[in-house]
Symmetry: C2
Subunit: 175 residues, 2 copies
DNA sequence: TACCGTAGAGAACGACCGTTCTCCGCCGCA
DNA sequence: TGCGGCGGAGAACGGTCGTTCTCTACGGTA
């Protein structure tokens, strides 16, 4: 197996395991065996666990924003489509809230790189939501509040309906 | 020092350290020395770290809800006072988001007791917000979304102004 | 065939952590 | 004074984890 494939497999596995269990609950050996990559390769691709965590978050940022953008674009850039996308996300098996919020809660105090990636993610999200909001005539910060609130409620409340409630609130704010 | 004082000191210290650094980043020995309690006493009061974590969350729940309720009561049960209280909380030094969200992100996958306490907390909060919302004529779920969203944005965005934006959104929903 | 760089498997290392155990000094009591 | 229980300090234990090292097998090249 060459380096690129090993790195890809590791990132796949890291994204799944870190998100499922939290970073502290996944050892390098768990990753190694789940990804089917030798430990030597692991450290060739990512010199430390922290590097792997940061790479995981960057990749997840790309997937998350990409998926949201694509869905909203398919629905005519309708700002309310954001909440439909959230609804689908919340109902996915294994949904465990925002990976960035979770990682900052776990590692933020000791690992500034994680905080940086999370900040970058949230800034990008808010900037994108700001664009959608401007077109629709709603305050960008209000839209962002509803989105973040829905994620938080779905995560620890276990209430996937949070997306629908947030959609209703957004409709009220639009009118 | 008797058992009760030792337990109280431990809880004080646990609340501070666990919240500041995250649970995994605080060892029993850190707690012991910061609280000035012998290790034997620690395990007399709390048979395991998990017990201490649960006790910490329960205590924080009491403090948090009590402080919010008291503030809102002082301000004539005005639903908007919730956001003023949040604003003050966000600006406290050492603010690091919702202790329950952080703990679930860190331990939720391995420790059901933590998930239970967090659920209990969120249910109590939503029930309280529901009462306030009913009186004011706004949907309880919308109010809860704004509150959760503000906490989340202030936590990882580092934007204490989230409380003010949420207040504005609530005012719009009220009118 | 002889050689060399590389890769994989997994042992080994050092640090840390939750928990338990040992030792010693102190106090009340006969 | 002698004794027995209690508390504190911290050593010790067992396990885990991140990281490095060792050993062996293999494939390409002269």
């Amino acid at each position: 197996m060459d380096v690129d494939e090993a790195a890809a497999r590791l990132l796949d596995t890291a994204e799944r395991l870190f998100y499922e269990r939290g970073v502290h609950n996944v050892g390098m050996d768990d990753l190694r065996s789940a990804a089917g990559v030798s430990l030597k390769r692991v450290y060739q691709c990512f010199p430390s666990k922290e590097d792997l965590v940061v790479a995981y978050l960057r990749r997840r940022h790309g997937w998350w924003m990409g998926s949201l953008r694509a869905y909203v674009a398919e629905h005519g850039q309708d700002v309310l489509a954001v909440f439909d996308w959230l609804d689908r996300w919340f109902r996915e098996p294994g949904f465990r809230g925002c990976a960035f919020v979770n990682s900052v809660g776990e590692l933020g105090a000791t690992c500034p790189a994680v905080v940086d990636v999370a900040l970058e993610h949230k800034r990008a999200l808010r900037s994108y939501l700001g664009e959608l909001a401007d077109r629709a005539g709603i305050a960008g910060s209000h839209l962002a509040l509803l989105v973040e609130g829905a994620i938080s409620m779905a995560a620890v409340g276990g209430e996937p309906s949070a997306a629908q409630h947030a959609r209703q609130a957004a409709e009220e704010l639009l009118s």
